[in-house]
Symmetry: C2
Subunit: 415 residues, 2 copies
């Protein structure tokens, strides 16, 4: 008997959940990713802000599924999907599937201004994070040597574009980095004078959260010294800074945490994506017109019962992945499949030391209880005991010593 | 009163020891390094072989001297020294000194074959280490997808050139990585079949060690599956492998642990260096003809009482650095200075799990006692408590789980 072939593209939260859900299925599973590691993206901003090391939030994909004899892992870049021949193209070679799961995630979108990307890098993978970390720390090093106060001031200005959870978390972490961890280490400059400017085009931060938590977040960031600009989009990013409405903010470091674009799954399938490039799927999570192709996680546009799109967060991807694994197993034996529904896992964002916001159903938490809960939840969801121990060690150290554990500039040469 | 200016170029073991020794000296100290971090080089091979993360063996230089009010840190590349004007050129700008310490370390030498560098990278800084790690792990990933067994075999062959401590440590660590940590993670290939070939031009491994320890090391590496080639130099390195005498070893990964060349200090001073580019200095550690310029660590050629050059290891650099700080303080007040003598701190090299060699005066240790002592010594010498905790966690995890904590491929794109 020929076993059905399941190909999963992407080993993020969604793709990994599918693979795990198929561990004992009578099928051959191929899990493909561009990277060799699964990334715990919710803590990626801490790598970018020198708090954690890359390996503390990443695990080799093949290590995670090595106990599953029916599963192989291939590292490579999928370049096309051929639904008629039922293959994906991996580099030059085709990989055949009977069931295909596209869990390819999202990347940065610059609203048609791709030329901004080089000046305002986004934060999606480990290389992004270490590059931003290097750029940020190098700006302080250069400011220490700058002869001109205007240049020093520009070097000590960091602009963050986008007021969602990533923008909030990056801003808070950079403000604390400058005001605490770096404060005593320089002689010519005072790192505590660094300007951190968070820019959100919409009327409030954390637009997915209840409004009172948005207000709390803006206040809490203000207390950390972050300048919050609401209601005006960025109209230009270049080598010298950003333009926000009529205001020019000279800044050496710009972090892009705004527009997100889904990976090219929609164009692979010849389907019109939504504005963010996501594939609209129904409650069976299959692509329109392709009942053997599932699309999940940030790549998919799925609406809840009230028509609101599900957010691009880990619990959504994980639940969809687990559901798809169950659906494939059911359909392989002709069992009926119930529609996918998302069980709300809440929304969380951290702002800084002892400050976070959590919205879970009717519950709204803020301040230190939210912060502790946020920390505990993240430790809990880290994949291995080793990583939990390492992250806890780093966090306790940072908490008591007001320091950062990974202040490295790598991959760049000084001038 | 104008305070004397001390400029230290290089924040490795030697330069940092000078800076620390001058903490309470009535002088202004400037510590310059190309990187923002001090690196614990003895464990760099563990970063290259996926055992440790970069931040676990590196610390921001300015953090290490932030308590010294008389010391500033500049990150940048020194391009020239002008002994007549008493300045070093840092990028475009001059930095003036009354006392200069050159502790710029060493880099790889390819015996006149610089074209080998791209195929056979060496291991001196964190970027080297993560690049080698990526190349090594990527070779296994590609082998898993290779259609042709010859290609797979080449991908699974790793050649290490140079049988000193670094070559021995890298070979042993790669053999264990392939045979233990990776063994169960692949489907199409058996990582335990990887060939690890260690090539030494001289007649024995670890030429600085007593001969019985060299023999023990070759035997122990053999038991780990490392093929040791002695007595023949490499005559070619290219994209497909290495040539050793009449033998061609097709290899996708080559690690250069042979020739070391001192940094350009000798040419900055217009002094003829030795074959390895080191500045010959006497027992006062000043450069010939420049009594206010000290040269220490791997940059200097210093001979012991019997005329044998001191080895390029951390204890030599540290003792020289501490001595130079004392010498500068003494000379500033006209006190006499006694000649530098090296107190033997022994030689150590680790081979693999429960296997290391230590030569300390008449003592020769091998096997697991040497291994435990090696581990304890390295933990002891790590700079901060945080790093000790992190490294111990990683090591205990590796020891009991036979795993590696940092199996990340970063900075490279798959094909």
């Amino acid at each position: 008997m020929i076993r059905p072939q399941v190909v999963i593209v992407g080993a993020g939260f969604g793709g990994l959940a599918v693979a795990r859900g198929l561990a004992r299925a009578p099928a051959d599973v191929t899990l493909i990713d561009r990277h060799n590691h699964h990334l715990f993206q919710p803590l990626l901003y801490q790598v970018a802000t020198a708090g954690l090391s890359p390996a503390e939030i990443a695990w080799p994909v093949r290590r995670l599924v090595r106990g599953q004899a029916n599963t192989r892992v291939l590292m490579g870049e999928v370049t096309a999907v051929d639904p008629a021949r039922r293959v994906v193209m991996l580099g030059d070679g085709p990989v055949a599937w009977d069931w295909l799961v596209l869990a390819t995630g999202a990347t940065h979108g610059y609203f048609g201004h791709d030329e901004w990307a080089v000046h305002a890098p986004g934060l999606k993978n480990l290389d992004d994070a270490t590059a931003i970390r290097g750029r940020l720390l190098l700006a302080f090093e250069r400011a220490e040597m700058a002869s001109n106060p205007d240049i020093a001031r520009r070097l000590l200005t960091i602009a963050i574009v986008g007021g969602g959870p990533t923008g909030v978390e990056v801003s808070g972490a950079i403000a604390e980095l400058a005001r605490r961890a770096l404060a005593a280490d320089f002689r010519a400059i005072d790192p505590a004078q660094a300007r951190v400017v968070l820019i959100e085009a919409g009327p409030r931060l954390l637009p997915n959260f209840p409004e009172p938590l948005s207000r709390y977040t803006a206040d809490a960031l203000g207390k950390l010294g972050v300048e919050v600009r609401l209601g005006t989009p960025v109209s230009c990013c270049d080598a010298d800074g950003v333009t926000v409405g009529a205001e020019r903010v000279p800044a050496a470091t710009i972090v892009w945490a705004a527009g997100v674009t889904a990976s090219p799954a929609a164009s692979w399938l010849g389907i019109a994506g939504d504005r963010a490039g996501r594939v609209p799927v129904g409650s069976d999570l299959t692509a329109p017109g392709h009942d053997h192709i599932y699309v999940i996680g940030d790549t998919a546009l799925v609406r809840d019962a009230r028509g609101k799109p599900l957010p691009g967060i880990a619990p959504v991807a994980k639940q969809q992945g687990a559901w798809v694994a169950r659906a494939i197993r059911a359909r392989m034996v002709g069992r009926p499949v119930r529609a996918f529904t998302y069980r709300d896992a809440g929304l969380l964002a951290t702002i800084g030391r002892k400050s976070a916001v959590i919205a879970y159903r009717r519950l709204k938490l803020r301040g230190w209880p939210a912060w502790w809960l946020w920390g505990a939840a993240h430790i809990y969801f880290l994949v291995s005991l080793r990583n939990r121990l390492l992250v806890v060690t780093q966090w306790l150290w940072s908490y008591f010593a007001f320091e950062r554990g990974a202040r490295l500039i790598t991959g760049v040469r000084p001038r």
